[in-house]
């Protein structure tokens, strides 16, 4: 794959809800390897809907290419291995009885042996600073800790792209700071949908602005924020 080929390319993406409302009205987007992009916009403007198309959870019309492969029903598993998706509410993601098992889920799904998966899980937990909680049940941790465990679970699966959907919603300032530090040190390409503009600005250089199902601005984050007075 050439250095300049985008790692994600979306052309004219359209999506309608079951009741007929158009959620996405022709979205064009490109993400390059190593780039970090923030998705800004009002609630309901289509940010989450757009992100859910990238790993095929929602299927609309248009062209989507991830890591050089066009998205189709047959390669969803392959694509989902390459995209690590962090959702807003960690309780939606941590479904296994202990932290270690949940983080090891990704590697196990990819076919690792139990020992390899455990090793990778421990490494990921070490990375997010929660090794000591490995044997705990998720409901015993704070929201911030749960979000970091969810992140560890995604990192253990070694994705190429990270997609984060409003990851700071339930976090207190110290947890936000911890998450920011973690994310800043990761090599993966990053897509971040958020209302937390300060958080976004510290992490991403570029931003796109969603409005009623379309991207109406795409440029340096400070510029976009100023243009729409998005503070």
């Amino acid at each position: 794959m050439s250095h300049h080929q985008p790692i994600i390319e979306v052309r004219d993406l359209r999506y309608r809800y079951e009741d007929g409302t158009e959620a996405l009205k022709g979205v064009d987007f490109m993400l390059h390897r190593g780039e970090r992009v923030a998705l800004l916009g009002a609630n309901g403007s289509g940010k989450t809907t757009f992100l859910l198309h990238l790993n095929g959870i929602l299927r609309g019309q248009g062209f989507i290419e991830v890591c050089g492969t066009e998205l189709a029903g047959s390669n969803l598993k392959w694509i989902r291995r390459r995209i690590g998706f962090l959702f807003q509410d960690p309780d939606d993601q941590l479904f296994l009885p202990t932290v270690l098992e949940d983080v090891a889920f990704g590697p196990l799904e990819q076919g690792c042996t139990a020992e390899d998966a455990t090793r990778r899980a421990h490494a990921a937990l070490e990375h997010v600073g929660l090794s000591v909680e490995a044997a705990r049940a998720p409901h015993r941790l704070s929201a911030g800790q749960r979000q970091r465990v969810a992140l560890a679970g995604i990192l253990a699966a070694e994705p190429e792209i990270l997609v984060l959907d409003e990851p700071t919603t339930h976090l207190d300032p110290p947890s936000r700071g911890a998450l920011l530090t973690l994310l800043a040190g990761l090599p993966q390409s990053l897509l971040l949908a958020t209302h937390d503009v300060v958080f976004a600005a510290q992490l991403a250089q570029r931003a796109v602005f969603f409005d009623r199902g379309r991207i109406i601005a795409d440029g340096p984050i400070d510029q976009v924020v100023q243009e729409f007075r998005w503070t």
Binding site: K77, R80, F95, A114
Partner: protein
Amino acid sequence: MNSGTLRTIRTLEDWSRGGSWLHRRDPRFKLLSALLLLAAIALAPARDSRGLLLSSAAAVSILFIASVSAALPPLSILARGWVVLPFTGVFALLAWLEGDPHRAAALLAKSWLSAVAVVLLMAVTPLERLLAGMQSLGVPPLLASVVQFVWRYLHVALDQLRRMQVARLARGGERRFVFAAATVAVLFASSAARAERVHRALLARGGEARFLLLQPLKTRPADLGLLGGALLSAALLMASGGWL
């Protein structure tokens, strides 16, 4: 829903993650041993007060010793058996009023001891290992997965319930039938929405909700020893009750 119940659950969970000899046994053998004990408690004949007293004392001793060997507080474990009191108390009272105090005592003793045996089982076995053991003994995987999920999300649901009740009280809402119904309805809708989100998160991680144990179940000679011990205890209970 009070904090007392939450504390009870937490204590049990913490206990179950200990490292004693009993904790390390194969969960299948622990389950079978517990069932043996329960059967012995239920079947131990107690035709007269002496038999009842002896078999109950034997059972208490066995449970006491087992708790101590698992490095757990024996009196706390024994005390937890009294959750059966509301139900059992009513029937014991009925039996006593009908002029059969012996039966009343038998009801109280047997249901209490049975409850303690279950507490002990859960205090030395984490739930997920017990479920894995049950699955290997023939419980359908779908059922075991659902049990795991229900347990995992019970805390989430209880949390949400508590928040809604607090919010309603803060708005000055008294406890009314319609409000309770509305609360439950909102909880339902919220749960259905959460189920959809959990499903999406699972899809994104590329998998079905399979519960693969990191430390697979392995039977060791010590497990057979445990089962043997349980058999002996069961025999002791039956004997002390007057079966011989």
